[in-house]
Symmetry: C2
Subunit: 295 residues, 2 copies
């Protein structure tokens, strides 16, 4: 028997499970299911539990060591419930950990999606071997996480790095740095309403205004990251999520702003880089939540 | 023989040593010496070493366990040298740890004054028993420190929480939150040039414009602490330094700004408070740098 972990990637739109070995290697990834197809959190959890059962029936050599869940935040301090979140209404105040734990005897742990993404990248991705790793998920919204010495830095109340909702300019950071922001920038430039993936395709094809929208997002990202660099002094800042595909343009605008800030020892050391684990990062990171990580 | 530690409080203006027992109790405090009286770092260190020797000659029951130094930052990553700092020019790039270590066989460790202040308050002062403690020294300048699980959070390059020099409004945070800022505010209101201690005395006596200067500083402190609350989610934010005497007015303006930000679990939990250890905090904190802290 081989010990494996299940990672649950719970997003505002999609959810899926994956199985990960104890060295952080993805073994299998379940199909995406759409959150909006479910009327309640209990039914959604049942569908995910069914996926887990199916995978383990098909792979009798695997022994479940535990289940890790990455979910949109903010979560309550005990890491069992999602607080009232705009992105995942059916889950608000529902005890997700209990819901999974009632089906399994193995440990079930949860943290927010951005923390879990950062944990995956810090342990097995772009931040491997580094002490202070700051991660960001750029999708519909803007999630942030900090992994310090291989563990999620949660803060005193479990809401550290909930930075997307920090006041910034005339609104909050997420209003300027997110898929929604990118779409708004592009619409301002062209009067055309496209989704992030379409804007990325245009930018890839050389469309100047699509590229400009990514750069404007990058400019605000650079500005917003100033307190991160000054307060946290990370070794690595890692950008993941669906918009990370536009990393080169984002970087081009963000990095000059941050570069100006750096002290001697940060120069040639601190980096802003794209994520390495790709699509599977949330599942790998969620699985890494389970106690008894290998070193 | 009783094991004791020496703490060295090195400031931009004054320096002194103190002796602290292994439970964080101050046993004796040396006289203040004035940094400007010394032409070089080597001569300043010699004067401090002489103070240490004198105290130990007078207290033969004490056995030195080590020397901790708190110094103005930023420091190099190895925590041996002050980088080029506006506040303490004769020390720039001088190997302070080596200078002390050449006189003693016990361990010598250094960190910056704000980190050391925060360590002292987190272990033995207002933040005792708390996991995430954010400390600030409001004196001529504005120093910041973070203590996480009883240890200084240094960042990847040793410059975490160098937040006084983070861009803010039209300048940097310290331009709006510091003794110099307070003096400027008061001068703007009255056309009178007073030092911080004088402005405090006036405020204490009920002078409306002196109080208004403290409140304006508090307003900017509140604004500047927004990223601290959002990124770090501390349990306790502690204000020390010579201007902490004006805490009630600072708090009155700062707290309403921060209170708005708090998530459910932070309300009735996160606090902004004045330091408890008073004048001796830097010495007690510096002594706490020495490995083998008692719990």
């Amino acid at each position: 028997m081989m010990k494996v972990r299940v990672g649950v990637d719970l997003g505002g739109t999609k959810a899926r499970i994956g199985v990960v070995d104890e060295a952080g290697q993805l073994l299998t990834l379940g199909d995406k299911i759409y959150v909006k197809d479910f009327k309640s959190a209990a039914v959604l959890v049942k569908a995910l539990v069914r996926d887990v059962r199916q995978i383990f029936r098909a792979n009798t050599q695997w022994e479940l060591a535990g289940i890790g869940i990455g979910s949109p935040g903010p979560l309550d301090k005990s890491r069992r419930r999602v607080l009232n979140t705009p992105n995942l209404k059916i889950l608000a105040y529902f005890d997700l950990v209990e819901a999974f734990a009632s089906h399994f005897s193995e440990p079930v742990v949860m943290n927010n999606d951005a923390n879990v993404f950062t944990l995956g990248e810090a342990l097995y991705g772009a931040g491997r071997g580094m002490d202070v790793v700051y991660g960001m998920t750029l999708g519909t919204g803007f999630g942030n996480g900090l992994v310090y010495r291989g563990e999620i830095f949660d803060g005193a109340h479990g809401v550290a790095t909930e930075y997307g909702l920090a006041p910034y300019a005339e609104d909050v950071v997420e209003h300027y740095v997110s898929g929604r922001a990118l779409e708004r920038y592009y619409q301002d430039f062209t009067n055309q309403k496209l989704v992030g993936a379409e804007i990325f395709k245009l930018a890839e094809g050389g469309d100047e205004l699509a590229i400009r929208a990514f750069k404007l997002l990058g400019y605000h990202l650079g500005k917003a990251l100033i307190p991160v660099v000054r307060l946290i002094d990370p070794k690595m800042m890692i950008i993941g999520g669906s918009l990370a595909a536009g990393f080169p343009w984002i970087y081009e605008a963000a990095w000059p702003i941050l570069k100006e800030l750096l002290w001697d020892d940060q120069e040639d050391s601190l980096q802003l880089v794209p994520a390495k684990l790709g699509d599977a990062a949330p599942v790998i990171g969620a699985a890494a939540l389970i106690p008894g990580k290998p070193s």
